[in-house]
Amino acid sequence: MSDEEMMEGGVQKKFCYVNRTAPYGTVYALESLEVVLIGAAFEQDVSVIFMDDGVFQLTKGQDTAGIGMKNFSPTYRALEMYDVEKLYVSKESLEARGLSEDDLLVDVEVKTAAEIRDLMEEQDVILTF
């Protein structure tokens, strides 16, 4: 397709971002967030999945004053404004980490591994971080 067609916004794909990495220890979580926002800016149909250590990205009460890094967790609360509203969290991953939905800073849908598998099958594009 030509650039012009893209500009007219005719093409919308289902983009799924899979977050499997804890924040701060590596740069993956922050990079993922940037790419999610880019997908949203191009008006794509965005889903974001948090599983394995990725669930730690959403913990409430992050305070990075002592480590000299930017606390980017408030940005997850702003995703709604970019029409990124499909946030899914792995049930098994929460349980293995002693966490519950109440420990998370945004409203999410908790899904089992089987449900996440089905969700992944529906996507046009999957990007994992």
Partner: protein, 99 residues
């Protein structure tokens, strides 16, 4: 000996390898993503509790707070600040950094 661990125990086997090789009387300091081993009621917390008899555990508080784990650290893990980190390196004759 003082051991430091900076990887999540849910993602890598670094923590497990460390406690398997840490001698009685040694200390393990959890830093960066290593602090997730300090979480209570997790899939690895039983392993930490089991090792507590022989090993003294510490976690770097700024890393705990950055990750929103304040109030979620299991009993028996000592929180230290950066000055406490330095004190530990002085107290023990050697440091092994598990990466």
């Amino acid at each position: 000996m003082l051991h430091t661990v900076n990887k999540s125990p849910f993602q890598k086997n670094t923590f497990e390898s460390c406690i398997k090789h840490a001698a009685k009387g040694s200390a393990v300091l959890l830093i960066e993503d290593g602090v997730y081993a300090a979480l209570k009621d997790s899939a690895v917390s039983a392993k930490v509790q089991q090792a507590m008899g022989d090993i003294t555990f510490y976690a770097l508080e700024p890393d705990v707070n950055a990750r929103g784990l304040k109030g979620k650290v299991m009993d028996g893990i000592n929180l230290v600040d950066y000055a406490g980190f330095v004190d530990l390196t002085v107290k023990f004759d050697r440091v092994q950094s598990w990466l």
